[in-house]
């Protein structure tokens, strides 16, 4: 039994959300067991940008009722560093590699995609469009017309499957999904984190002017707190577009995954739940009655 996704043959329908699992760090922490019992059917990299990024100043985390606000700021080695240092190691994972990229203009995204297209180790490309346009300041993914244009430009640069990670911070996510499909996307993934704010405890109670807790000021909310929102958005998108969807948001059990599959997701991604247990993806796949992923030779 396997799952077909954009021409890829996957052992089961559970993958990781971008930026929620660092396979190279996990190899250091858990040794060979990581590869032997790899918890996902495909591995999605954290977001890669053209230039290296250090990420946001700490603090970067705030725990909420049944969730987590993060303001990490996409730290990464940049395209050149990723291709030279990380890609050879990621290529030896026992599952297909999906590389997630983000740019602040169509030209920048196109350059990232063209570079990824030249590497056979990369099975598919995911576009993070939750990034403000350098000129308009609006999130590329929140404006359907702009999104369609960007996807169309990028589409010409690769024959690899192209996944658009939609932003939930849009007026109508289903319209954005349609725009991605029109632009030539092979799949969409959703939901990304919901924009959220936490105030520093010292500024509570009106004693001082309210100060954000997170170094990046606002952050993104994830975890069980957003699962019902995810279910609604995935359902809305799946009825509107033909292309497959990767559904995610607060999934920590097979029941949660089954709900997203039932409303039309082809794959389900696990994110914040992996922070509590790095093997949760494998457990969910097992409980969905998919056998463990085959061990890499």
């Amino acid at each position: 039994m396997s799952v077909e996704f954009c021409g890829l043959e996957l052992a089961h329908p559970i993958v990781n959300g971008s930026g929620t699992f660092d396979a190279l760090a996990a190899r250091r922490a858990f040794g060979a067991a990581l590869d032997e019992q790899f918890p996902f059917a495909a591995y999605v990299s954290k977001t890669i940008t053209l230039e290296p990024r250090a990420g946001n100043p700490p603090p970067r985390l705030w725990e909420t009722p049944a969730g987590l606000i993060n303001s990490i700021g996409l730290p990464n080695k940049g395209l050149v560093g990723y291709l030279a240092e990380d890609l050879p190691e990621l290529a030896s994972l026992p599952v297909p590699l999906i590389t997630n990229v983000m740019g602040s203009s169509a030209a920048e995204i196109a350059e990232l995609v063209r570079a990824c297209d030249a590497h056979a180790e990369i099975a598919a490309i995911e576009l993070n469009v939750s990034c403000p346009n350098v000129k308009t300041g609006l999130d590329i993914g929140a404006d359907p017309r702009q999104l369609e244009q960007v996807v169309r430009t990028v589409r010409e640069r690769t024959s690899k499957p192209l996944i658009v990670k939609l932003t939930p911070n849009a007026a109508d996510v289903a319209v954005c999904a349609e725009a991605a499909q029109e632009g030539g996307a092979d799949a969409v993934s959703l939901i990304n984190t919901l924009r959220a704010l936490a105030l520093a405890p010292a500024s509570r109670g009106g004693m001082r002017s309210p100060e954000p807790w997170l170094g990046g000021r606002t952050g993104g909310l994830s975890g069980p707190a957003i699962r019902a929102v995810a279910l609604a958005q995935v359902a809305a998108v799946a009825t509107r577009v033909e292309i497959p969807a990767i559904g995610m948001g607060g999934v920590s059990s097979a029941t949660h995954a089954r709900e997203l599959l039932d409303v039309g997701a082809r794959l389900v991604a696990v994110g914040t739940a992996s922070f509590r247990d790095p093997t949760v993806g494998a457990r969910i796949a097992r409980e969905l009655d998919f056998p463990p992923a085959p061990v890499h030779a």
């Binding site: 190279l24 996990a26 725990e63 509590r276 093997t279």
Partner: protein, 284 residues
């Protein structure tokens, strides 16, 4: 077994995934509690002193203050003894409060051992262990290991008050200072450190405690060119490098992840100990 979990100089690989273990005891130690967990799998020497584990109660995790905790909490491994791992707890928030409620027979999720631990002094230096508050925990297992290696070690501990100073019993033969003078010397543990280094500076310093204490230790050691290894604390979601939440600024730019590059970090890697290391905020 050692093949499954290769032990490098500073870290041992953890069993993959969190493990459901059983609490064997919860001992009072003044203002602190010592949580004991049966962990025969790891306690056979398969951890490096300074490593930590992510802990979460198996039941009623959530539903405390602000409906938290949600994430597991990071704790230094304080000691291994008779197939049990020991952790030092202080009730400072909904996560630590729930863990403090546990008793013998209760179940607990444990992910670890994680991170980079301490390394032994070089060039015949003696070890100077400097701890503050609940941060004394990893120094206990390090003191045990140094004794096994016949490396001379001296212990200096600082606490806010008398009830907390009773935590000094976790280690042997410690010199104690308290902020309010109710036990040991009236003053700061860093005063004791300066005295010791004035007497004999041929030492490597191992420190764990609140960020301001660690920053003072770092400054003292940097001024005197004394090697120092600092065990940092930071709010973290995962403990194994996935979330990138627990960073501290690195000398020369960029950040270190406390969970995988630390928690024990060579003081020379830091320009200063970030105020947020130790101040966990939101994930206590």
């Amino acid at each position: 077994m050692s093949e499954r979990w290769p032990i490098s100089d500073r870290s041992a690989a953890a069993p993959f995934g969190r493990r459901l273990l059983t609490v064997t005891g919860m001992d009072e130690m003044g203002a602190y509690r010592v949580l004991r967990v049966a962990d025969p799998e790891v306690s056979e020497g398969l951890a490096v002193p300074g490593q930590f584990a992510m802990l979460a109660a198996a039941e009623r995790w959530g539903g405390g203050e602000d409906e938290r905790p949600y994430l597991a909490r990071a704790f230094s491994i304080a000691r291994f003894s008779d197939g049990e791992a020991h952790y030092l707890l202080e009730d400072v928030g909904p996560g630590t409060r729930r863990l403090c409620e546990l008793g013998p027979g209760d179940r607990i999720w444990v992910l670890g051992p994680l991170g980079q631990g301490f390394t032994a002094p070089q060039d015949g230096r003696r070890a100077l262990l400097v701890g503050g508050g609940v941060g004394i925990a990893p120094l206990a297992i390090w003191q045990d290991e140094l004794a096994r290696k016949d490396i001379p070690a001296q212990v200096l501990l600082g606490f806010r008050d008398g009830p907390r100073a009773r935590g000094a019993a976790l280690l042997g033969a410690a010199q104690v200072a308290t902020d309010d003078g109710s036990a040991g010397r009236h003053g700061l543990v860093t005063d004791l450190l300066v005295e010791q280094l004035d007497k004999d500076g041929h030492a490597t310093v191992y420190a764990c405690g609140p960020a301001p204490m660690l920053e003072t230790v770092r400054e003292i050691c940097a001024t005197r060119s004394i090697p120092a290894q600092l065990a940092l604390e930071a709010g973290m979601a995962c403990g194994f490098g996935a979330c990138y939440g627990c960073v501290v600024p690195r000398r020369g730019g960029g950040y270190l992840r406390v969970c995988v590059d630390g928690p024990v970090i060579d003081a020379a890697e830091l320009d200063q100990v970030d105020a947020h290391a130790g101040g966990v905020g939101g994930t206590r």
